[in-house]
Symmetry: C2
Subunit: 159 residues, 2 copies
């Protein structure tokens, strides 16, 4: 009978606060290293990583936005930076003039590879250092249940 409303509310408050703290803490840790060693922000890396796994190493900007949880304007500016750095190219879509693809360049691929070593390791260390593999899985499962977080892997299959 843990279904006491006020207890649940307090627990929710606690969880929320911890989520904020966890994000701030981990973000700062990982961000500092990544930025210093490779000149990339966390979101830069996340986008590069995302593009590398995409079909032709390219994605619509809207899809990038959805995955990294940025607004359209955020994506525009993030990609602006990556384009300036030559890591990503802007490619027009022949069938729909509204869309502009973000296309990972060879330089971008290489840069990602280089940065991955350290960054992925840092992430793995951070989590494995505190949580067991099972706990990591559980954490993923729980976070994915929050509204708007699900990865939507087969959400927009064909058209």
């Amino acid at each position: 009978m843990t279904s006491d409303t006020s207890t649940d509310t307090a627990a929710a408050l606690q969880a929320w606060s911890l989520l904020l703290r966890a994000h701030a803490s981990t973000t700062r840790l990982l961000s500092a290293a990544l930025e210093k060693e490779h000149g990339l922000t966390i979101n830069d890396f996340e986008v590069l990583h995302l593009l590398a796994q995409a079909p032709d190493r390219r994605l619509k900007r809207v899809e990038v936005a959805r995955h990294v949880m940025l607004t359209p304007s955020g994506v525009t500016r993030l990609l602006e930076g990556l384009e300036r750095a030559g890591l990503v190219e802007r490619v027009a879509c022949p069938t729909d003039l509204r869309v502009a693809y973000a296309q990972l360049t060879d330089a971008g691929t290489e840069r990602l590879t280089v940065a991955s070593c350290g960054h992925v390791g840092a992430i793995a260390d951070l989590l494995s250092g505190s949580l067991s593999p099972e706990e990591v899985e559980t954490l993923s499962t729980l976070l994915a249940k929050l509204p708007g977080v699900a990865q939507t892997p087969g959400c927009c299959p064909s058209a």
Copy 2:
């Protein structure tokens, strides 16, 4: 035998990505409402809430920083805003001229009370709508294990 290194790394990557997404998603959701209805940012609320529970409804700025995971400069500017709004007062410490307390005013207390209704409800809804009470507990437990996240309840007891 789930202890395959590369599997673990992939799982860690996934969890990290989900943490980023969860933060972005929930933050935007809650922030929009809180800001529109009460003119407070999430961190504003968090600080008000923290001060309300503190001994004399006041805390050293350093301690505020530790709890909300802001750098000193962040705290200065956040409190600047709350002071301008009359929700918090700056109180000098008689025994150590370096420290300035953040003291919650009556107006601040009231504002917090008013804002709490909606905001705490929104948080509870957000979590309870997606997770069971047990899952919320588990989430808290896991997040708290991450480096630098622990609440340090009895960390600086007396002096």
